[in-house]
Structure formats: structure tokens, C-alpha cells
């Protein structure tokens, strides 16, 4: 495994190995002593062109728990905001001896450029690029689903298992969502059945070729697909304005009525179904406070699992030798 850029690149074995490794990482995080010496002497750079304190802290925590040195390189207050090109930044990181670059960028494909343009030889982890991919988010979602719906709330006995037969509904702004794209590929690879639920305006042209079902009606999906997990996507309020990139739906009230998850819809879900959200939430828009704080909501746990999944990703990218052939096919 050289880079982690897209869940579309992950074969099923790769994905299961990532989840299994994350389970072991999660076990170490239950100890009093949470720090492992594994990546001592290795340097991980968090290169964030977009504000995302949550994701950056999650990656930073993961790297530090593995004893890597962490350098935070954010667009604010650095030469990046003064117009330094991605290429020059990459050359700088290369000169600094970065072993891994965790990159968040508003431009789709920026991590792909970092990995393949020949600017630096570090491992590249995509921490979210434009409307493209956010693979560690999908991995932590899959990990959370596996723990609850395969392991019955624990990772014990889940080793080597996939998500075969599980039904997942992903609801909201699919068009602009890298989380949705990452999850559709990964959950499909792991054997789950995905239904995307959104108004037609918030689905991309071409979605019909994705390995999932598409529905315009949340109630219908709840009745007919009886999802085991419901993943609510963040809807940005500017999507309803008439300006550039707007006018996707008439009003917050209408969106919330048709696509929001409240206690009534929650009650119609199967009893074992879990409620997920990648955060940050718009309480009262795509999800009600009742649903967000419900016992079946695993939203807070997703955050904790994010650290384990990112530890696993860093471990699998950085712990082995660069030269020796990988035991498995590379990602």
C-alpha cells in the first residue's frame, strides 16, 4: 500500500485488512498507555488547504499515538495562502523529509497530483479532496457499521468479516459529497447494499452507473429497503439560495420535511438500525436533535473510530519497507 487516495482503489482484501488493523488499533486505545512506538522517527505532515479542525486533529492524534513526528501545515498563515503553488509546497515537504502527507484540498484530484506528479516520494493520504473522495471517513463508517451490525457492538469476532447483506441508506447532498462517493465504493466492495436518497437536484448526472440504488424519497426507502444503517449527509444552507451553485431545493423547511431524520422516521427504522453522520451536523436541518442524541446514534463513536482507522492507515502506509515487495498487491 503506497497511497490512500480513493476507496475505489481498495480491493476487498485491502479494505478488510484496514478494518482488522483498525480493530487492533482501537484495542490499544482502550489501554491506559495509548502511545505505541511503531512510527518513531517518521514524519507525517498534515497539509490542510481547507479548514477542518476535526479531521486534522483526528489525523494528528492518530500519528502521535504511533509516535510519528507531526507537522501541521495549514493554508492559513503560511505561504500557501500567498499563492504558493501545490507543486512548490510539495517540493518543500520533500526537502523537509516528509514520510507521509495527509492532504485536505478543495480541488478534486489534488492528492492524486501529489502522489503521482513526481514532486515528492512520500505516502499520500487523502483527507478529503473537493467533491471527490474522503477515504478514511468511509473506512471509519464501515468500521462502525461492522462493529455494530456484525460484531453486535464489539470488534471481537469481526476479524476478516465484510458487510455482506447489510443495507445502508445515504441521505442528502450526494452531488457535492466526497463522503457519499467514498462510501458507495467502499460499502459496495465490502458487500453492503447502498441506497442513495436525495432530491434529484442533489444527485450527480451519471449516478446511474454507480453500484447502488437511487431514491428520491426517504420514507419510501425506509419502508421498502429497511436499512440497517442510515447515514445522514451535511446539507449546506447556501445550497438553497439562488446564486452560483444554488437553487438546489426551495427551503430548509421543505428539505427537512422530505429528507430530514427526526424521531418519527427513526421510529419506523428497524429496531437494530444505527444512525450515522460524518459531522459537523446541522441539527434541525438534516437531522433532529432527537435523532442525533438517540441511543441508536453512533455519531460520537464515529469520531473515536476515526482515530483507530487513521492509525491503521498510517501504519499500513508507513510501517513496512519502501523497497520490499508488499505481501499483498499494492493499493
Amino acid at each position: 500500500m503506497r497511497h490512500l487516495l480513493s476507496t475505489a482503489d481498495l480491493a476487498k482484501d485491502d479494505a478488510v485488512l484496514l478494518l482488522d488493523t483498525a480493530a487492533q488499533m482501537a484495542a490499544t486505545q482502550a489501554r491506559e498507555m495509548k502511545k505505541l512506538p511503531t512510527l518513531r522517527g517518521r514524519t507525517v505532515v498534515n497539509l490542510f488547504y481547507e479548514d477542518s479542525t476535526r479531521t486534522r486533529i483526528s489525523f494528528e492524534t492518530a500519528a502521535k499515538r504511533l509516535s510519528a513526528d507531526v507537522i501541521n501545515f495549514s493554508a492559513k498563515g503560511s505561504s500557501v495562502s500567498k499563492g504558493e503553488s501545490l507543486k512548490d509546497t510539495a517540493l518543500t515537504l520533500h526537502a523537509m523529509g516528509a514520510d507521509a502527507v495527509v492532504v485536505r484540498h478543495q480541488a478534486s484530484g489534488a492528492p492524486h497530483m501529489l502522489a503521482h506528479a513526481g514532486w515528492l516520494d512520500a505516502a499520500v493520504l487523502n483527507a478529503g479532496d473537493g467533491m471527490h473522495q474522503h477515504p478514511t471517513q468511509a473506512l471509519l463508517d464501515a468500521f462502525t457499521i461492522r462493529r455494530h451490525l456484525v460484531g453486535g457492538g464489539s470488534d471481537a469476532g469481526t476479524e476478516g468479516t465484510d458487510l455482506a447483506g447489510l443495507r445502508v441508506a445515504i441521505v442528502g447532498d450526494v452531488l457535492h459529497s466526497r463522503v457519499a462517493r467514498s462510501n458507495v465504493h467502499l460499502l459496495h466492495t465490502l458487500g453492503a447494499h447502498v441506497t442513495l436518497v436525495a432530491p434529484p437536484t442533489l444527485l450527480p448526472v451519471g449516478v446511474e452507473t454507480w453500484p447502488c440504488d437511487v431514491s428520491y424519497h426517504l420514507d419510501e426507502t425506509i419502508e421498502q429497503a429497511s436499512p440497517d444503517a442510515v447515514m445522514m449527509l451535511r446539507v449546506q444552507r447556501e445550497r438553497m439560495s439562488g446564486g452560483a451553485g444554488g437553487a438546489f431545493f426551495p427551503s430548509a423547511q421543505e428539505y427537512s420535511r422530505k429528507f430530514g431524520l427526526g424521531s418519527q422516521r427513526l421510529a419506523r427504522l428497524p429496531r437494530h438500525a444505527i444512525v450515522m453522520h460524518p459531522g459537523p451536523m446541522n441539527r434541525g436541518l438534516e437531522i433532529s436533535a432527537d435523532a442525533a442524541d438517540h441511543p441508536r446514534s453512533v455519531i460520537v463513536e464515529q469520531v473515536a473510530n476515526g482515530i483507530a482507522v487513521r492509525m491503521a492507515s498510517l501504519y499500513l502506509l508507513l510501517a513496512g519497507s519502501d523497497d520490499a515487495p508488499d505481501e499483498r498487491t499494492s493499493l
Partner: protein, 476 residues
Amino acid sequence: MTTTYILRGVRPLGGEPADVVLSGGQIAYVGAPGTAPRPATASPSGDPSVAGTAGPGSSSDTGTDVVEIDGGNRLVLLPGLVDLHTHLREPGREDAETVYSGTRAAAAGGFTAVHAMANTTPTQDTAGVVEQVWRLGRDAGWVDVRPVGAVTVGLGGERLAELGAMADSAAAVRVFSDDGKCVHDPVLMRRALEYVKAFDGVVAQHAQEPRLTEGAQMNEGVVSAEVGLAGWPAVAEESIIARDVLLAEHVGSRLHVCHLSTARSVEIVRWAKSRGVEVTAEVTPHHLLLTDERARSYDARFKVNPPLRTRADVEAVREGLADGTIDVVATDHAPHPVEDKDCEWAAAAFGMTGLETALSVVQATMVDTGRMSWADVARVLSQAPARIGRIDGGVQGHGRPLEVGEPANVTLVDPSRSRTVRGVEQVTASANTPLEGMELPGVVVATFLRGRATVLGGVPVGGELGRVGETEGVLL
């Protein structure tokens, strides 16, 4: 003193081999192989024995003014190519291209005339600026540069530029375009279509509905959905073309559609032509060859406006070109410096170079596939663009028949050779070719502008000095 060129065993328009003599700026002789007159007849000061004793494919001795080229009954002779859509970047972006470097690249690609698009800095929206570009082209001497005038001031889409002044200037502008921007205001478009009738001008529309393409990065479809780049719907192009052909019909003007790229655009133009609307259309080499699958690499060399489309669209534009719905192949040669392409896709500039590969792409996609003859190539790359640009007349004319007495604006192509495209090795000042590393058929061997060689042995020669340089004697 001018050089006389005896082209032995060349195939005019790909037909039967012939001998052709270029002398005094004109085609002086066309006849059966082996019948070309001795140099003495073409050049009174020459020694009749010189050309006769020179081996096939070699030039005469240094100091003489007769050059023989052996076409081996293989080289195809075409009227000099005419590009209706070139970005020369000067004035303003001399870091990407200059009139000199761009026209030299054009000559290397077999062109004898180019239409220089108006989106320079300052914009070619006044008589002063179009005359400047025209003079730069004339001084460079590689091809005839015909500036395109902006339709609206500063390409702003709000006020008509002084179209009449540009038409009356030394540059004698006949093609007007806001290319890069669409004249999207229907009233302005109507007025422009009407106004240019006074001087037989044409509006060349960059068809792009601006609201449907805000922030757009690539063709909207399966690939854009997956790679997460904002989609550029085909309908944003088609809706403007549909509106414009109806406007052109209503006001009885002629309309030219730039770089048409979708299957339905072809259908709309076909329909309009069937109604007798005076519309012409162009397609670029890259839209004849490449699809939006290329965007999966996030390599910004494939970022272009209009975007690369789907396989079905490529098939439709090929068909449209073959059946005459599309009149012209135009390069939309758009050079950019490295830093504008070696970056994130969304941050990169739109456009790709094309002057030096256009003929090869047309050969690969249309000739070698049996869809077009070399005579058709002459039509879409020379005669039709010259006619649309109104540079097809008189002693200086382009896109003329290959007949005695016609201006010697011709190109000699070897269709049997191929070459591998290397951006940095091209003559253009920029390396942003989408065809990097691709092997393409067809090599331009020689280009003649009014009888003067601008390219010999595949290499640009002479240039601004107006005479053939030291590489004249290269073996062909």
C-alpha cells in the same frame, strides 16, 4: 531574387503523381511526372544542368536559386492550411506564445494563414490592436496572420466593439469573436450578426451558456460524477447553438460556430443547414480524438474549453465532419506556460496546443480510417476556413486550387511517416499538448508561403528575413 522549387513526383490532393513548379510566388507548372521544365526556363540566370544533375531529393549547389524536391510519388501536396482559430497570446501573454513563435509553429504544422483570436491583453477590440497583431505577423513572415476582432469591448459581453473600424483597418478583419467568452446576450448577438453584414463579416460564436457552466471543469457525465469535478453539460453548448442558428436565420446573417463538441450540436447544425441557414461550424483536432475519460488522470493537459466529451460525441463529430455538416477543422491552439498546467485541475488554465499536430490528428481519425480523402482534408483545413475568413480571393489568396497561376501557398505532407509527439520539442513556445508521447501519422515536409519555403525538411526555415536559410539543403 526568389527560389524556384521543382516538386517532382508529388500527389496534388492525394491524387496521381505530378511534377509541380513553384516560381515567382505562383504555381508555375503542373504536369505529368518527369515533365517539369528545366530550371533554366524557370530562372533565366540558372545553369540548366544544375538541377538535372542533382540527385533526387537533394537541393542544388549552394548559391543557386533552384531547389528540387523528390516526392517519391508519395508526398501529398495540399493547399496551405488555414486555421480559423488560433491563440497567439501576443500582446499580453508573451510568456505563453508570441506572434513569432506561434506563427512559426503554424508553418511547421503546414499552415500558411492563421486567424488570431481576440482574447489578448489588451483585447483585439480596436483597429489599433488588430493592426498591431497584423503587423507582428507580417514582420514575422511565417504565415499570413488575420486578426479576429472582438465582438464586444474587452470581451465584456455588454457593448459592441468598433467592428467597422476593425474591418476598415489594415488588418481588414472579417471574423469577429469573443472566443473564450460566449456572446450570451441574445440582443447583442442579434445586433452583431446584423452589423457585420455591411462588410461581409462573420460572427464566430463560442457557444457556452454561462449560467449552466459556472465553475464547470469538465464534461458532465459518468466521469465527472466519479472524479468529483464540476460538470459542464452538453446542453450549455447546444442551447446557444440552437438559439444562434435561429437568430441567424431570422436576420439573414452568416454564423460560424466555434469548436463544436457534442453529438446534438452536430444535429442542430445539420438541421439548420437543411433549412438553408448560412451557418458554418468547426471542430478541433482534440475533439476528434480524445474523450473525457482522460480526466481520470487529473492531468490538466486534458482540461480544455469546451471540455473533452464522450465517445459517442467523438463519433458524432467525426461523422459530421465527413458528411460536411462540420465545415472546418480548427486548432483552437491555446498555449499555456507550465505553471498554468502543472497544478490542480481546478486551478489550471483551459486549452491545449494544436498547430503542429492538427494535420496528423485529421489523418489518423479521418483519412486513415477511410472516412475522408486528402481532397476532403484540403477542404476542411484550407478551402473552407479560407472562404469563411474571406481570404480565399486574389493574388494573396489561400485555399485556392492547385493550378497554374494560383498563389504558391502549398504544403507538402508525407503521410507514410509517423512521429512521437513531445511537447518540449515542438516549435510553439508552450508544451501543453494533450498528445504527449502519442505516435501519430503524417509529417509536414515543406510549407510554402507565396512560393517562399517556410518549412523544408520538416524544419522551419528563414522566417522574418524573407529568404530561405542555411537548412535549405537538408535531405528530404
